[in-house]
């Protein structure tokens, strides 16, 4: 079986499972919303310099949400040993991993799109004039998060304390994504919007490096 087709079948299965409960989507949205509201108490959200901090706040909320929410991606398969079934299917290891990565990417992106207008209202930033550039930055940053988060969800699936372990493994690794996404977003949301391609290149570089790494270690990730 063609691995693109296999990945899309697994993507379909993940989407069906998620939309039956909408657990990941709901918790991510509520988590990001909570961070956006609670963080307003730690500084003056209407001050002019808040404009420089809020993109960092938004991305930290996304990364924390991702690192907390992605662990069921592989752990869920353990309840009924369904990973064995996936392994026995003609789908290759990389197709299994990519199906899950794309599903998680879709959920996280959807949650971010839902949060963007809320963020814009709460922190008085206009997003419409730079919407396309912003969505590109979101897509690249979120793909890096979904990719490494899903891979580590497989790595930590059998560990004790795996819910706590995943953020500990994932967040330091995401340092380049955090810096590049925050800087790119801050540039776009400034009074005079700037689109700095350097950060987009770093995000794309991160995605490519870890896509290649996932391809190479895919067998180890879905191993029993």
């Amino acid at each position: 079986m063609n691995s693109l087709r296999a990945a899309s079948i697994i993507l379909g299965k993940e989407l069906r499972t998620e939309f039956r409960t909408r657990e990941l989507l709901t918790t991510t949205v509520v988590f990001v919303l909570m961070v956006l509201i609670l963080f307003s108490f730690t500084f003056d959200p209407t001050a002019e310099e808040a404009r420089r901090y809020t993109p960092g706040l938004l991305w930290l909320a996304f990364l924390f949400a991702g690192s907390l929410m992605l662990f069921p991606s592989f752990a869920r398969e353990q309840v009924n040993d369904t990973l064995d079934a996936l392994r026995m299917s003609p789908a290759g290891s990389f197709a299994i991993v990519m199906g899950k990565v794309l599903a998680n990417f879709a959920f996280l992106t959807l949650a971010e799109w839902l949060m963007l207008p809320v963020f814009s209202v709460f922190y008085d930033v206009s997003v419409l004039r730079v919407l396309w550039q912003l969505l590109l930055v979101f897509a690249l940053g979120t793909f890096g998060l979904a990719l490494t988060g899903t891979a580590f969800s497989a790595v930590a699936a059998h560990a004790r304390m795996r819910e706590l372990l995943l953020p500990l493994l994932l967040l330091p690794l995401l340092t380049p994504v955090l810096i590049a996404s925050v800087e790119a977003t801050a540039g776009l949301l400034a009074r005079e919007p700037q689109f700095d391609v350097t950060w987009v290149k770093i995000l794309a570089g991160f995605d490519v490096v870890f896509l290649a790494a996932s391809y190479l270690v895919a067998d180890a990730l879905v191993e029993e």
Binding site: A151, H158, M161, T198, F206, A220
Partner: protein, 247 residues
């Protein structure tokens, strides 16, 4: 037994050699290396600080190679090498993070700046703490080896990305002294003292990794014996139950 005694003797000899190197290196730092013009005595921590940083780098490179080795060959030896080097590398990385602020406080006036090398070292430290934590939370040895090898490969590939993203983010920091831009560079005698000390530290690293590797091998042996004992006990228990039924 004979082989193990022989390797003990080799290790003992190596330990004595490395000990002498470290003592000679310390002598060179304090009495041979010239005084730095502006920082005076405090600059002498450089030999230990930068030497430890490079040694940690070598140890983490060994972890990366061992991770790849394990995933392609699946021999337990690679896993043992990976965990041994990760622990030793983390120890050297900790030395870097402790000696750095000691050096920085009198020279820069602050103990910590968020510059590319410092921040990357801190992130590197967190990544390898994560590596060891992951291992300690995985009980099954085969799973532990596979999962930590996959994570280790990701962690090592991340380091240059972390470094370059922070470097672009903070462009105002001082040029690196070694292999930096114009006007940087070391006095030739300082270079010799530095390289001598680095060799001594690499010797310490090799010795520690070797020792830790032995400990890891013994731990695995104990684990296997415990499983064997548990089997035998279960077997004996079921036999006694059967014997009781027969009576």
């Amino acid at each position: 037994m004979g082989r193990s005694r022989q390797s003990d003797a080799v290790r003992m000899g190596l330990a004595v050699l490395v000990g002498l190197l470290v003592i000679a290196g310390a002598y060179a730092i304090f009495f041979v290396a010239p005084m730095e013009a502006s920082q005076r005595e405090i600059q002498r921590i450089f030999y230990f600080h930068v030497g430890s940083a490079w040694t940690a780098g070598v140890a983490f490179l060994i972890v990366f190679i061992a991770n790849i080795g394990y995933l392609s060959k699946r021999a337990p030896m690679w896993d043992r090498l990976a965990v041994s080097s990760a622990e030793v590398g983390l120890a050297f990385c900790t030395v870097v993070l402790i000696t750095g602020p000691i050096w920085a406080k009198p020279v820069w006036g602050v103990a910590w700046v968020w510059d590319a090398r410092l921040t990357t070292t801190a992130v590197l430290w967190l990544l390898y703490v994560g590596y060891l934590l992951l291992r300690s939370f995985l009980d099954d040895p085969a799973r532990r080896a596979v999962a930590s090898a996959a994570f280790g490969i990701f962690a090592f590939l991340d380091v240059p990305l972390v470094y370059f993203s922070i470097r672009i983010w903070r462009t105002q920091h001082p040029q690196p002294v070694i292999a930096g831009g114009e006007g940087s560079g070391l006095d030739p005698m300082m270079w010799r003292v530095f390289l001598f000390n680095w060799v001594a530290l690499l010797g310490v690293m090799a010795l520690l990794i070797w020792k830790r590797y032995r400990v890891e091998a013994l731990l695995r042996e104990v684990e296997e014996l415990e499983v064997e004992i548990a089997w035998k006990e279960a077997d004996a228990a079921s036999r006694s139950v059967l014997a009781g039924q027969n009576n």
